[in-house]
Symmetry: C2
């Protein structure tokens, strides 16, 4: 869940966050502000590249957070003030609960720090919630995001040493979107 | 080096790229378009959090790329069409040359694919150049970015399980910027 999404100013950052969540194995991303644009954008990516990733916008963050907590989810808050990822990741990997990952902009409610089971820093330097989410999920999954399969898309990228190699699947036209 | 920076549209993405490059151990970031704003922003981050990270904008990308190649630098191009990072990272770690990492937006010159010593994908799904750069550097450094020291700043963040703990250094006032 991304807190503090401002549809105009954060358009590209929020799109990158959603794409990272999808590519690195999350099932859904939630935004507090309504933003149909980002929902449609990710539906298009699913159609082209497959998978069933979901975007929910206009989510009441406080209600969602409280509900997840009450239902026993593991809450992870990514913040530059938190405990270093390498120190804490093994404990988080042992969790078998559903997981809610909180990312914010510069300012987030104090409640995030209090309600989180883990406040996690991806370095203690200022950088990017997009990068923090990607590196966190990469460590959590121990690189397994590289083997994820996204089914039902039109296109599949075939890794190449040079240039672009794209395979058309079931009715696709082979052109990258 | 970031190709295709558009100072207005890409302001936040480019700032995130620069901050990621700094936090994950690069010495410099180069942008093709002139953009004083991002130079000043990162100078401010260095003053507050330390280190000597440099931002160069208005760099002629073709000249820079050709010069690096002629001087024998290792050129890495991050692209969703490239070879998977886990397959290729060991070879790249063995390189002892200076390294230029190329990141683009959706479209980059064909030359990037041809001139690169390594075209590297951080998953073959569309996501974010910010995330790709962070995950690439994290794998390249095998997590050593978590031990980097940034000297000469006003503030140092002390990792905490809850809340924010910031130490003022030499004349700082202890307030996060």
């Amino acid at each position: 869940m991304r807190y503090g999404h401002r549809p105009k100013r954060d358009k590209r950052i929020s799109t990158h966050l959603a794409l990272v969540a999808r590519a690195f194995g999350a099932d859904e991303i939630w935004f507090d502000e309504k933003d149909q644009n980002i929902e449609e954008k990710l539906e298009g990516v699913n159609r082209t590249f497959g998978g069933g990733f979901k975007v929910k916008t206009g989510v009441n963050w406080k209600e969602a957070l409280t509900t997840c907590k009450e239902q026993g989810w593991c809450i992870v808050h990514l913040t530059m003030y938190g405990m270093p990822l390498p120190q804490i990741v093994k404990s988080i990997r042992r969790e078998e609960r559903d997981m809610l990952i909180l990312v914010g902009g510069p300012k987030v409610p104090r409640l995030f720090y209090e309600i989180a089971d883990y406040n996690v820093s991806v370095t203690n330097q200022p950088h990017s919630e997009v990068a923090a989410l990607a590196v966190f999920l990469d460590w959590l999954l121990e690189g397994k995001e590289f083997q994820l399969e996204f089914r039902g898309g039109r296109l599949k990228i075939i890794p190449s040493e040079r240039g672009k190699h794209v395979e058309a699947l079931g009715g696709g036209n082979g052109e990258p979107c």
